[in-house]
C-alpha cells in the first residue's frame, strides 16, 4: 500500500478524490449520514471526547454544513478522570468551531447518587452510561452521533449506521432495524433516540490518513512524548492522582504515545517515537495489536464486555 503518496499533504481535495477511491467514498458517506440525521431529527447532538475519532467527526460535521454552521451541540461524557490536556484541547476546539458544549458529568452523577461511587481509583468507564442517558433525556436529544468504528470490536461490527435505542436507552442487537442501501430510517417516538455512526466503516488507518491529508489537529498525547508510567497487566499506565503506582510498581519515564484517549484509569500508552501523523501511520501499519487490545483495560474483562455495555446504552 502506498500510504505515503496517499497521505501527502501536497494533494488537494480534488486530487485525493481521483487518487483515493476509498477515503473519498468514506468521507462522502459520512457527510451524507450527518446531513440525513441533521435534516430528519429534531435535536441531534454529537458525542465528543476530544479523542481522534470524535475530532474527525467534528471536522466532517463542519464540512457537511459549510458554508453554514454546525446546527447541533456537542456533548462530552466526562468521567472526571480525563487527561487534563484533553480537556484543554476539547474546550479550545469547541470554541474554534463555534459549537455549544454540553458536559455529562460522571462526578455529578456520583455526587447526586445516580450511580454508585467506585472509590477514588476505581474505573469510571462503565459509569458513563447513566450520565450519557440522563443528559440525552434532559436535553430531549433524539439522535446522538458517535465516532464508533466497526473495526474496534466485534459487538460494534454488528451495529447499524443508525442504531435504535428504546425508552431506556437500550440496544437490542437481536432485533435491529433493517438498513437498506443508503436509505436511513431515523424515525423515533418521544423518549426513544438514535445513535448515528457515520464513520462505522473507517479503520484506524483511515482515521490517521484522513488526519494527515486534512492536517487536523489532535491532542499532543497522540504523538511521542515523555511521560512517567508504570507497567501493569502488560500496559503502560500514566501515574497520576487517580492512577498512583501500586505497591511493588516502580514508576519510570518512557517515550510513549496514546493510540486511544479515554479515562486515565483504563487507558494505556504504547512505546513510540512517532511524532507526526505520517510516522503514526507507518507505526500502525507495522503494528500487530489492535488499538483497543493494546490500550484499553476495560475491554479485557470478557468476550462480550462491549456488547454488554452497549446493551445498557453505552456509546
Amino acid at each position: 500500500m502506498t500510504v505515503i503518496d496517499q497521505t501527502s499533504t501536497e494533494f488537494d481535495d480534488a486530487d485525493r478524490v481521483g487518487l483515493d477511491h476509498r477515503l473519498a467514498q468514506l468521507e462522502a458517506h459520512a457527510i451524507f449520514v450527518i446531513r440525513e440525521v441533521a435534516a430528519e431529527c429534531e435535536r441531534p447532538v454529537l458525542l465528543f471526547s476530544g479523542g481522534k475519532d470524535s475530532v474527525v467527526m467534528l471536522h466532517l460535521a463542519k464540512k457537511a454544513f459549510e458554508p453554514g454552521v454546525i446546527p447541533f451541540p456537542v456533548m462530552h461524557v466526562d468521567t472526571g478522570h480525563n487527561f487534563p490536556e484533553v480537556i484543554e484541547f476539547r474546550d479550545r476546539l469547541v470554541e474554534q468551531m463555534g459549537v455549544r458544549l454540553v458536559v455529562a458529568s460522571v462526578q455529578d452523577a456520583i455526587d447526586e447518587g445516580r450511580v454508585a461511587d467506585p472509590g477514588p481509583t476505581g474505573s469510571r468507564n462503565r459509569l458513563q452510561t447513566q450520565p450519557l442517558l440522563y443528559e440525552v433525556g434532559r436535553n430531549k436529544f433524539d439522535a446522538a452521533f458517535g465516532g464508533a468504528r466497526r473495526d474496534e470490536d466485534k459487538a460494534r461490527a454488528k451495529e447499524r449506521i443508525l442504531s435504535f435505542r428504546d425508552l431506556f436507552g437500550q440496544w437490542d442487537p437481536k432485533n435491529q432495524r433493517p438498513e437498506l442501501w443508503r436509505l436511513y430510517n431515523p424515525r423515533v417516538r418521544a423518549g426513544e433516540h438514535l445513535r448515528a455512526f457515520p464513520i462505522s466503516d473507517w479503520t484506524e488507518l483511515d482515521i490517521w490518513r484522513y488526519i494527515a491529508v486534512n492536517d487536523i489537529e489532535l491532542p499532543q498525547m497522540y504523538y511521542a512524548h515523555q511521560r512517567e508510567v508504570v507497567e501493569r497487566d502488560g500496559m503502560l499506565l500514566a501515574t497520576s492522582e487517580v492512577t498512583p503506582a501500586l505497591p511493588g510498581e516502580t514508576p519510570f519515564v518512557e517515550t510513549v504515545r496514546y493510540r486511544t484517549v479515554g479515562d486515565m484509569t483504563c487507558t494505556g500508552a504504547v512505546r513510540s517515537d512517532a511524532a507526526t501523523p505520517l510516522e503514526v501511520l507507518t507505526e500502525i501499519e507495522q503494528s500487530r495489536i489492535t488499538e483497543r487490545g493494546a490500550t484499553r483495560a476495560d475491554d479485557k474483562f470478557s468476550e462480550a464486555a462491549m456488547e454488554d455495555r452497549k446493551r445498557e446504552g453505552y456509546f
Partner: protein
C-alpha cells in the same frame, strides 16, 4: 486505493465463518491479540490450534447458538484493493439482515458445501442478490476436501448454479472450488485442483471490475438547504442558497441546464463545491427548492410519477396487502403511500412466480403497485440504484418493513 464491498452468504454449516476467518488470517488482517483470543477460546472449548470460525463470532446469542443472527462487517486490504465484508446470516428468519448486508455490496459470495450442493438457502440468497441488482455472484464450493477434490462433483454444482443464474438474469457468475479449513484456493492455490485453471477467491475479488452506479445523467436528491451566514450572527450575506446532497448520478457542471423535480422548474447550475459524490450546488435562479426535491439534467430527467410498480422484499410479520397504508422513503423524501395491487409472488424454492396473491408475508418477494401522496422522480432500479430504490416504513411502529426496487421507469403497469 479502490474499495470493494462484498457480502457472504450460505446455509448453516457451509463454513462461511471459517472462510472469512481464513481470508482475514491469510491476508494478515488479524492482529496478534485477536489471534491470541481465538486460540484461547479454541482451547477452552476443547479444540486445537486456531478455530478460524471464531474470528467472526459476534453476539453472545450467536456464540450460544452457533449461528449468525445479524450482519457483521469486517475489513481487510491487500496491495491491490481494500475490502469490506458484510458477513450475512443464512437462516430464513434473518433474511432482512441478509438483505441489509447485500444492499450495499458490489459482489455476493454464496457458499455451498460440496457434499450437499445447492439448498433452498442458496437459491434464496442467489434470488435476493439478483433482486438487489448485484452484478457479480461468486459460488464458493467449499469443503472440497470432503469430496476428495472431485472435479466431477464441482462441475455438477457449478452447472446447476449456472442454470439457476440464467433464470435470475445474473450477468456474471464465477464458481471456485475451495477448502476454507486448509485454505486451498482461498488466498493461495490448492495443490489438489490441477484440473481448475480459474482464479483463487482473493485473486478474483482483487481483479473483477468495480461496478459503477453513478454513471448517467445528473441526479442530485437535495438533503439540505444551506443558507450561508445563518446562525453565525453578523455578516449575513445575500449570497445564494446552497443545495447539499449526495450525487445519485452524473457530475454537475457550471452552466448546465437543470430541472427541479417534482415541481418541474428550470434553471442552471451556478456553482459546485465539495468532493463528489457529497456536493453542494447553487442555481442561477432563486427557486423554491427544498429537501426531498431532485435536481436533474434538464435534457435527461427521470420520470416523475404518482404511481410506482416495484419488486418488494417484505420484512415484517404483519403482511402487506392491497389497501395497506405505509410510508415510502425514496431518496431524501418520505411520502405517504398505499399499496393498490399485489401482482405476483416469487417462490424462492422453485424460482417460479405465482399470480393471484392477496398478501406478501415476512421474507417474501413480490411485485406491488403503490400510489404516492406526491409524485416521485424515479428511474428503474436496473438503471440507478439510488433513484430506483425505496424503503417501506410502518407509520405506527416506525419500523423499516420493506425494500422496494422500481421495475418500470414509466411507473404505471400496463
Amino acid at each position: 486505493m479502490e474499495l470493494l464491498r462484498f457480502a457472504t452468504a450460505g446455509s448453516v454449516d457451509d463454513g462461511k465463518s471459517t472462510l472469512i476467518g481464513r481470508l482475514l488470517h491469510d491476508t494478515k488482517a488479524l492482529f496478534d491479540d485477536v489471534i491470541d483470543a481465538v486460540a484461547a477460546t479454541t482451547a477452552r472449548r476443547g479444540g486445537e490450534g486456531l478455530d478460524l470460525a471464531l474470528v467472526t463470532d459476534g453476539l453472545r446469542a450467536e456464540r450460544e447458538q452457533g449461528i449468525t443472527i445479524d450482519v457483521a462487517y469486517r475489513y481487510f486490504s491487500t496491495p491491490l484493493r481494500s475490502f469490506v465484508i458484510a458477513d450475512t446470516p443464512g437462516h430464513v428468519q434473518y433474511t432482512r439482515n441478509m438483505v441489509t448486508g447485500a444492499s450495499t455490496s458490489d459482489v455476493a459470495v454464496i457458499l455451498v458445501d460440496a457434499r450437499h450442493g445447492l439448498r433452498e438457502q442458496s437459491l434464496r440468497h442467489a434470488a435476493l442478490s439478483a433482486l438487489l441488482g448485484i452484478q457479480h455472484l461468486v459460488l464458493a464450493v467449499n469443503k472440497m476436501d470432503l469430496v476428495d477434490w472431485s472435479e466431477a462433483r464441482f462441475t455438477e454444482i457449478r452447472d446447476e448454479f449456472a442454470a439457476l443464474a440464467e433464470r435470475l438474469d445474473v450477468p456474471v457468475v464465477t464458481a471456485i472450488p475451495l477448502c476454507a479449513l486448509d485454505g486451498g484456493n482461498v488466498v493461495d492455490p490448492s495443490p489438489h485442483t490441477p484440473w481448475y485453471d480459474g482464479p483463487c477467491l482473493l485473486e478474483h475479488l482483487e481483479t473483477l471490475p468495480l461496478p459503477r452506479y453513478d454513471e448517467g445523467a445528473l441526479r442530485l436528491p437535495v438533503q439540505l438547504v444551506i443558507k450561508p451566514g445563518v446562525g453565525s450572527g453578523a455578516g449575513v450575506t445575500a449570497e445564494r442558497r446552497w443545495y447539499a446532497g449526495s450525487l445519485a448520478a452524473g457530475i454537475p457542471q457550471v452552466g448546465q441546464e437543470i430541472v427541479v423535480l417534482p415541481s418541474g422548474t428550470h434553471s442552471r447550475i451556478a456553482a459546485v463545491e465539495g468532493n463528489a459524490p457529497a456536493v453542494r450546488v447553487q442555481l442561477e435562479h432563486e427557486l423554491d427548492v427544498s429537501r426531498g426535491d431532485v435536481i436533474a439534467d434538464a435534457h435527461d430527467a427521470p420520470h416523475t410519477v404518482p404511481q410506482i410498480l416495484a419488486r418488494v422484499a417484505w420484512m415484517a410479520d404483519k403482511p402487506l396487502r392491497a389497501g395497506s397504508h405505509v410510508l415510502l422513503k425514496h431518496g431524501t423524501r418520505t411520502v405517504k403511500a398505499v399499496a393498490t395491487q399485489l401482482h405476483d409472488r416469487l417462490d424462492v424454492a422453485t424460482l417460479d412466480t405465482h399470480t393471484g396473491v392477496d398478501e406478501l408475508g415476512l421474507n417474501e418477494i413480490g411485485t406491488v403497485t403503490f400510489i404516492t401522496s406526491l409524485p416521485l422522480p424515479i428511474d428503474a432500479y436496473a438503471t440507478n440504484r439510488t433513484m430506483g430504490s425505496f424503503i417501506v416504513i410502518d407509520e405506527v411502529t416506525n419500523g423499516t418493513v420493506g425494500a422496494g426496487m422500481v421495475a418500470e421507469p414509466a411507473g404505471a403497469p400496463v
